[in-house]
């Protein structure tokens, strides 16, 4: 019975492999009937694949960065660095650490999770997670290029990103304190036994692959939903509401959430809205999107428990909305 099963598994794998090879060699010779290939199907597919292909290298970088932290940063080192007695004061250096990491929002999720596993308090890891994709030299440059005629947006994005991140960290600490927001793990007792048996490099590679598959399934779903929204959502709908001082930022935040753009590119999309929106609406879009969006929600669900993710989204939404609203009143 077992050998039969094993044979079946082998055949399945070989068939899959042969299928992929066949498609590699002759995929473009297969013509798909026009009824299936309507213009919107084509557009959804193109955008879906594009989001996926573009996010994958950054996920891989995040996975490797997390592996590097795992290998090179010990719990003791972190314990020494993190001021235990002043949880609120520690938010500021955490924001600085986030600013120093030049990674975008896909890559930072596995890093944040690794930091928490290494014993960094959750609220500090979260601050690193929300600041890294905004306070980042590449993002600053692309925002600068896109908004050369409106410098308020450029520095506004950095300042509001920083203030909102501190608020978010403070709220997370208030609500969750020192509780661990990660999904409970099984099999922790295997720990020692496995590490002894393999080399570190092999371990990292195996690890990266497992982590890719853990996050990958969420990425695929997230990319698909974002692609559907990108294709069907008529941006004309936004124009009327976007200039409203109260509803504008909220609508732009919702828009940022569902389109799930990379923080290095969203400034150009925002600048294409240009003068139709108030500065605070544009800032809401530019600050909220990198902190949380649909794709990232799913990535977070791979590691964090549901209750934490939902609360986190609520906190980010409130913090960013308040910041941009006050900004709109002042400027």
């Amino acid at each position: 019975m077992n050998s039969l099963r094993s044979l079946g598994q082998d055949t399945l794998g070989i068939l899959l492999f042969l299928g992929i090879i066949a498609l590699f060699l002759a995929g473009d010779l297969i013509s798909i009937p026009d009824e299936v290939m309507s213009s919107s199907v084509v557009n959804v597919t193109t955008i879906f694949l594009s989001i996926l292909l573009e996010a994958i290298p950054f996920i891989l970088i995040g996975v490797f960065a997390s592996a590097v932290i795992q290998v090179f940063v010990s719990e003791n080192m972190l314990r020494k660095w993190i001021p235990k007695r002043y949880p609120y004061l520690a938010l500021f250096p955490a924001a600085m650490v986030g600013a120093l990491l030049p990674v975008c929002e896909c890559a930072i999720v596995p890093v944040a999770r690794r930091l928490i596993k290494k014993g960094v308090p959750a609220h500090l890891a979260i601050v690193v997670m929300v600041t890294a994709p905004i306070l980042n030299p590449i993002v600053l440059a692309s925002t600068y290029y896109a908004f050369q005629n409106n410098m308020t947006v450029v520095w506004g994005r950095m300042i509001l990103g920083f203030i909102a991140a501190i608020l978010i960290g403070a709220f997370v600490y208030k609500l969750f304190g020192k509780r661990n927001p990660l999904i409970k793990e099984k099999h922790t007792h295997h720990h020692e036994h496995h590490h002894a048996s393999h080399g570190k490099i092999m371990q990292t590679i195996v690890h990266a692959s497992d982590e890719f598959f853990d996050m990958g399934k969420y990425l695929v779903i997230g990319a698909f939903v974002a692609a559907v929204f990108q294709t069907y959502l008529d941006r004309e709908l936004l124009v009327g509401i976007g200039s409203d001082a109260v509803a504008g930022p909220a609508v732009m935040m919702a828009f940022a959430y569902i389109v799930s753009l990379c923080s290095e590119a969203d400034a150009f999309v925002a600048s294409s809205f240009g003068s139709l929106f108030t500065t605070s609406s544009l800032l809401a879009f530019l600050v909220y999107g990198p902190m949380i969006d649909f794709k990232n929600t799913l990535l977070m669900l791979a590691y964090f428990n549901k209750r934490f993710v939902l609360t986190f989204i609520a906190i980010v939404t409130i913090a960013v909305y308040i910041c941009t609203f006050i900004f709109g009143m002042l400027v």
Partner: protein, 300 residues
């Protein structure tokens, strides 16, 4: 006898190789730029390498009969349980690979443009501009200018120099009688025309783009447009220049054309903007790279 963990490792290895082959094929067929902007390609080479290494290692681990599976339990990675769950999870990974192999050369079309709004000059059209009734003043003026200028002709794109520096480009364009919009500096060139429109009225302009028609456009109105891409086509926006001409207006949306015409200005919802008049054109195949790059000024 193989354990279930080993089977998962084996299947995962094959899927990773599948992704590597997809990326490789997109590069070999020059289709990568249909999905990801050229300046991000370095990251795609990185994924290609990583997928290959991970895939080969996983397949070897998954098929070797020696020893136990080396699955790393310490991190709480969860393997999908049961046949149905595994099938669903792995299908999620296989679907993008299959889709990528089946339709690698699709371009975004004007139905996406309509949903996103088109950027013409510094303004965004998502709403239909009001069709103007009767010839306006600038139209009359234009007839005069047209008599003075030569009939537009379609020239070679290589005739016009590429200038990376925005200010030098401005200077260079000021000296030319005919502006040729090269893909390498598409947005820069159009911004210069838009910025100092009065200076360019009456000059000839040539560019390649696809036909976009908004529902509210008059029959002879269209925008000759291009998608601009920063990182991937998900962030694509549409950038173009308005044209008014009876023959051009008859073209189907999404037709790619090489157009040369005379720049004029028009009043559109209270905004002054350039419009191409009196054009000559030919229908062409989509260019090798249909997307143009966002406008970057180098900080010196």
């Amino acid at each position: 006898m193989k354990s279930s963990e080993q089977f998962h490792t084996y299947i995962r290895g094959i899927i990773l190789i599948g992704y590597a082959l997809l990326v490789l094929k997109l590069f070999l067929t020059f289709n990568m730029q249909n999905f990801v902007a050229p300046k991000m390609h370095i990251y795609m080479y990185f994924s290609l390498g990583v997928f290959l290494v991970l895939g080969v290692i996983q397949i070897i681990r998954g098929t070797s009969w020696k020893g136990k599976a080396h699955h790393c339990d310490c991190e709480g990675h969860e393997l999908p349980k049961g046949f149905l769950r595994s099938t669903i999870v792995y299908s999620l990974f296989v679907i993008p690979v299959v889709l990528g192999f089946l339709m690698p050369d699709n371009l975004l079309d004007s139905s996406v443009a309509a949903k996103r709004g088109i950027k013409v000059g510094n303004s965004l059209f998502t709403t239909a501009p009001q069709a103007e009734k009767g010839p306006d003043v600038s139209n009359e003026e234009n007839k005069e200018t047209q008599q003075h200028t030569n009939q537009p002709t379609l020239g070679s794109y290589e005739e016009f120099p590429i200038e990376k520096d925005f200010d030098k480009l401005k200077e260079l364009m000021g000296k030319q009688d005919k502006i040729i919009v090269r893909d390498e500096q598409y947005i820069q060139t159009l911004s210069v025309v838009d910025e100092s429109l009065d200076e360019y009225v009456g000059k000839e302009i040539q560019l390649t783009g696809f036909v976009y028609k908004d529902e509210g456009f008059a029959e002879d109105e269209l925008v000759i447009s291009r998608f601009t891409v920063t990182c991937c086509v998900a962030d694509a926006s549409v950038y173009g220049i308005l044209a008014r001409d009876g023959d051009l207006g008859k073209l189907e949306p999404d037709t790619w054309i090489n157009v040369s015409g005379i720049i004029d200005k028009t009043d559109f919802n209270g905004m002054q903007m350039p419009v191409i008049k009196n054009p000559v054109f030919e229908v062409v195949d989509p260019p090798e790279n249909p997307y143009v790059e966002e406008f970057y000024i180098k900080i010196e």
